[in-house]
């Protein structure tokens, strides 16, 4: 049996040529996903990758697993059907900021709300790549694109704030080129039971280059990023310019930390993934550059029964209470009568 042999990253490469632009952040994400897969303890045939339409949504073609490249924006709904039908499968949705946050926003909302046990990876490059560079719902105000020659006037949406507004039980943010962090985030997402929503900051080299350079670049990210760790205070910044985040009455602010100063004593908040309220994670998700560092890591991870588990439980309990369905009995239930020959 093929599975007796240890499977490796390579086993997850399909025979299709990978067709992203040179320099696209998607390559790194693909490589890291393929690297993590063999560690998850799931047989290869039990993985399903589902996507919509977009550069990012070509992802399933390159994974040697079951895959479904569907239509624009609907991947979360198709994944819901797959997971409800076969709860034992490990179902991953790959979507883009256009696919997921624009046309597909509603499905994302409701899938997250229902807490279907799937992983949703949103590749956020803040642009429509596949259709050649229009602004997306995550693009910054003023962005000049083909469809906004005088600058976009749409306020961007913040995917993690959106997900928390939808009641997400797991939200995280990571970066295309930060391999260890990305891998760890994928592992955590997989572990989580319920919808794991992961925003991956991704570079579109062709239409929106260096949008995330502040957190991609190893140097810049020390001051511009903030990796959050469960139980650790919200601190960031290079030696001599260390800062922390304080949250008073729900309102975050930056505190400058003196050398060696205890952040917690200085009023810096301690990161906790498991608060019952989503309000803390939301405060974190609302931190934006340049006033604040861009946080990455797992913002929230709480356990609630997942949708497909509850659904299966209803089936099981109905069977316990009423026995396996008997069609003959159903058809003859209620008032019937017999006409003799």
């Amino acid at each position: 049996m093929a599975q007796a042999v240890q499977i490796t990253q390579k086993d997850f490469s399909s025979d299709q040529d990978v067709r992203w632009c040179p320099g696209c952040g998607d390559y790194s994400i693909l490589a890291n996903v393929q690297r993590v897969m063999p560690e998850l303890g799931v047989r290869r045939e039990n993985f399903v990758f589902v996507s919509g339409i977009g550069c990012s949504s070509r992802f399933p073609y390159y994974m040697n697993t079951y895959g479904f490249h569907t239509i624009h924006g609907r991947a979360p709904s198709i994944a819901t059907g797959i997971k409800c039908a076969r709860p034992e499968l490990s179902v991953w949705v790959v979507t883009g900021d256009g696919d997921g946050m624009s046309i597909g926003g509603n499905h994302l909302l409701h899938t997250i709300r229902r807490n279907v046990d799937i992983q949703i990876l949103l590749f956020n490059n803040r642009v429509y790549g596949l259709t050649k560079g229009q602004y997306s719902p995550t693009s910054r105000v003023g962005m000049n694109t083909k469809s906004s020659p005088e600058g976009s006037i749409d306020y961007p949406i913040q995917p993690l704030a959106f997900a928390l507004g939808a009641g997400a039980t797991f939200v995280a943010r990571t970066v295309d080129v930060d391999a260890p962090h990305l891998q760890e985030t994928l592992r955590r997402a997989h572990e989580h039971r319920g919808t794991a929503f992961v925003e991956i900051l991704q570079n579109c080299h062709v239409f929106n280059d260096d949008e995330w350079i502040e957190v991609e670049d190893r140097k810049q990210r020390i001051d511009a990023g903030m990796k959050v760790v469960d139980g650790a205070p919200l601190v960031y910044g290079s030696e001599g310019a260390r800062r922390g985040i304080r949250i008073e009455d729900g309102v975050p602010s930056v505190i400058e930390l003196a050398d060696g100063q205890d952040p917690v004593a200085a009023g810096v908040a301690v990161h906790r993934e498991r608060y019952e309220t989503p309000a803390y994670a939301f405060a974190l998700a609302s931190l934006a550059r340049p006033e604040f560092p861009l946080p990455t890591g797992v913002f929230r991870a709480i356990e609630n029964p997942s949708y497909e588990a509850l659904l299966s439980a209803q089936v099981a309990s109905a069977r316990v209470q009423r026995g396996k369905g008997d069609l003959e009995a159903l058809l003859s239930s209620g008032d019937t009568w017999t006409v003799e020959a």
Binding site: E45, Y66, R74, I78, G81, C84, R86, H110, D335, V339
Partner: protein, 610 residues
């Protein structure tokens, strides 16, 4: 008091009418059950007010339920009721003109106050004029009912709620129906005072009928000659829901229903939701797009995916349906049609989504389309849709409509064994597996579901290479795949049974119908033939592909008439495919055909004056 005489009659149609709150649907349903058990053939038609909840006493709030029963075959709820029961002036006003001349009109005369007459839009008392045209039976139901309950401790508002059961009791006497089924139902449903009150007034109404001099005789309708078997009453929506549940048994496979509520399809979701123990999962999605998408996902994963909707919902599903066609996945899309366009008249009937089912997607994307003809037929047609979907690896559109959805008819309960036992041919063997290889007969591709080791593959909505299923922009391959999808659907024609011509198998006029108009068309054609007219009729279950012998059948007749509750959709298909001058008779009033309307058109086509 001597027993009153009885009179034997062949058939009668009764319409119960009142305010939405008067319980007319329940009254009609109970009368129907009794009638079925009395052994008559029957057909029913409820007529709800639209989605709106109208102010009491107004025309907009009138609710009706018609039942037609007989000692012979019955196919429609009848064009014109013989008996109208009206609980208020608005109900009278909205319905009395439909009553057959000289018919019986039973009124709750307590409700005919001046205020109520004005509310119904009457400017003067209509009863004097009606007395000349109909047999008016004026009964103080409210008073009689209160009297029957006088000793119970009920507020009069609560007491009044049961006046419909008083009337029901009276009608049971009038038509010699058994009271037991209703009493049994009451016992199962209520307890204590409420049970007592309802049972008591039902009996009181019956006794009143026996006693009152207003009703000089009762009527007997002998049992109908009905094929022997086990029967029940069923509405189209229930039959459809049970067809979905039955699929889980016939295929021994989990069913997944994704749906978003919409009139008149919602009850299918409600009904199916009750049967989780059959291994049927229901999912109330956030919209129709998510509903079909989830069903597609479930099918991909190896369940029997199905979604149920009505017109506007079907439109929203079309993009995803195109994906299912490209991905060649089995899927049943049920459309319980309603009157449009746009939101239109959501509670009223039309059969106007046929062309949408066929052409509602971008590009040429063929999908089989089948339609149910009667309430009971919704069961078998649903199962047939699943069978085709699985056998040909294709989505199938199944059409019902709001008339079938809500009307009830006696239904011979099928023997479960006769439904067959099918098994989806899941692919399991990695040896030379290709996701788009073909079954030589059906052209189906293999159903290879996640979890099967060695069959990992990727599908999607981009043009695919035959065999490998890889993305392909090759020109010839694309033409080949277009032809293949077309041919796959076309091959279903091989299984369509020969078209059954009722009446002479060649002649002057052929009436061609589909869907819920079957009863009316059949009645009209049978009557016409009984009157010596040269008219035959056929009724199509398969709309795409059309039956292979259809052209040949059509060619045997001088003229072809296609009656439809739309502006001529099947007619367009027939004209285009067979180049015959099929005439369309269309009705788009939100109401089914009357038999007399069809007869008039048949007469006209046969050159007869009417």
């Amino acid at each position: 008091m001597p027993e009153k005489p009885t009179e034997e009659i062949e058939s009668v149609a009764i319409r119960f009418t009142g305010d939405s709150g008067d319980g007319m649907q329940l009254t009609g349903t109970k009368f129907t059950e009794s009638t079925a058990l009395a052994g008559n053939d029957l057909a029913t038609l409820p007529d709800y007010p639209a989605e709106i909840r109208a102010p009491t006493g107004t025309l907009a709030g009138v609710s009706g339920f018609q039942i037609h029963f007989s000692s012979h075959d019955i196919r429609t709820p009848a064009d014109h009721p013989d008996v109208l029961v009206s609980f208020n002036p608005a109900a009278l006003r909205a319905n009395v003109e439909d009553v057959r001349p000289g018919g019986m009109v039973i009124l709750n005369i307590d409700a005919f106050t001046e205020k109520a007459l004005t509310r119904a839009g009457y400017t003067e008392d209509p009863l004097p004029a009606l007395r000349d045209r109909f047999q008016l039976v004026e009964i103080p139901f409210t008073k009689l009912n209160r009297a029957a309950l006088a000793d119970l401790d009920l507020r009069s508002r609560d007491a009044d709620r049961s006046k419909n059961f008083f009337a029901l009791g009276m009608l049971y006497w009038l038509y010699n129906r058994p009271m037991e089924p209703t009493l049994r139902w009451l016992e199962g449903k209520f307890k204590g005072d409420v049970l007592e009150a309802n049972a008591r007034v039902l009996k009181a109404g019956h006794a009143f009928g026996e006693t009152t001099e207003t009703l000089p005789r009762s009527f007997v309708i002998p049992r109908a000659k009905i094929a022997p078997g086990h029967y029940r009453n069923i509405t189209g929506n229930t039959a459809l829901a049970w067809g979905i549940v039955a699929a889980s048994q016939v295929f021994d496979q989990e069913v997944f229903l994704g749906a978003y509520p919409i009139t008149p399809a919602s009850e299918v979701l409600h009904e199916v939701s009750r049967y989780r123990h059959f291994g049927v999962k229901t999912f109330q999605a956030e919209d129709e797009i998510a509903a079909i998408s989830s069903a597609i996902g479930a099918s991909f994963a190896g369940s029997l995916g199905v979604c149920t909707t009505s017109g506007p919902g079907l439109v929203l599903k079309q993009e995803a349906l195109g994906l299912a066609i490209m991905a060649e996945l089995p899927l049943v899309v049920v459309n319980v049609q309603r009157a449009g366009p746009s939101t239109g008249m959501p509670t009223k009937v039309e059969q106007a989504d046929l062309l949408n089912a066929l052409y509602g997607r971008n590009s040429d994307s063929p999908v089989p389309v089948i339609a149910a003809a009667t309430a009971g037929d919704c069961f078998g047609t649903t199962l047939e849709a699943f069978r085709l979907a699985v056998k040909y690896m294709t989505p199938v559109v199944m059409l019902s409509d709001s008339y079938l959805a809500n009307s009830a008819e006696p239904w011979q309960i099928p023997d479960v064994a006769s439904l067959g036992q099918e098994r989806a041919p899941f692919a399991t063997d990695p040896e030379s597996f290709q996701p788009y290889s073909r079954d030589p007969e059906t052209l189906a591709r293999p159903w290879a579901t996640p979890g099967t080791a060695g069959l990992e593959h990727r599908i999607g909505g981009l043009a695919k290479q035959d065999g490998t299923g890889n993305v392909s922009y090759d020109a010839k391959n694309n033409a080949h795949m277009h032809a293949l999808r077309h041919e796959k659907v076309a091959r279903i024609a091989n299984e369509i049974p020969p078209t059954e011509v009722l009446g002479p198998d060649r002649g002057e006029l052929l009436v061609v119908g589909w869907g819920s108009t079957q009863g009316a068309i059949l009645s009209a054609c049978i009557e016409a033939r009984e009157d010596g007219q040269n008219v035959s009729n056929i009724h199509l279950r398969y709309l795409n592909p059309l039956p292979p012998d259809l052209g040949e059948v059509l060619a045997r007749f001088d003229k072809v008439l296609v009656p439809e509750l739309n502006l001529g959709q099947l007619s367009l298909l027939i004209r285009s495919q067979f180049l015959i001058d099929a005439k369309s008779l269309s009705k788009v009033e939100g109401q089914p055909f009357l038999v007399e309307e069809l007869r008039a058109e048949i007469d006209a086509m046969l050159g007869l004056e009417t």
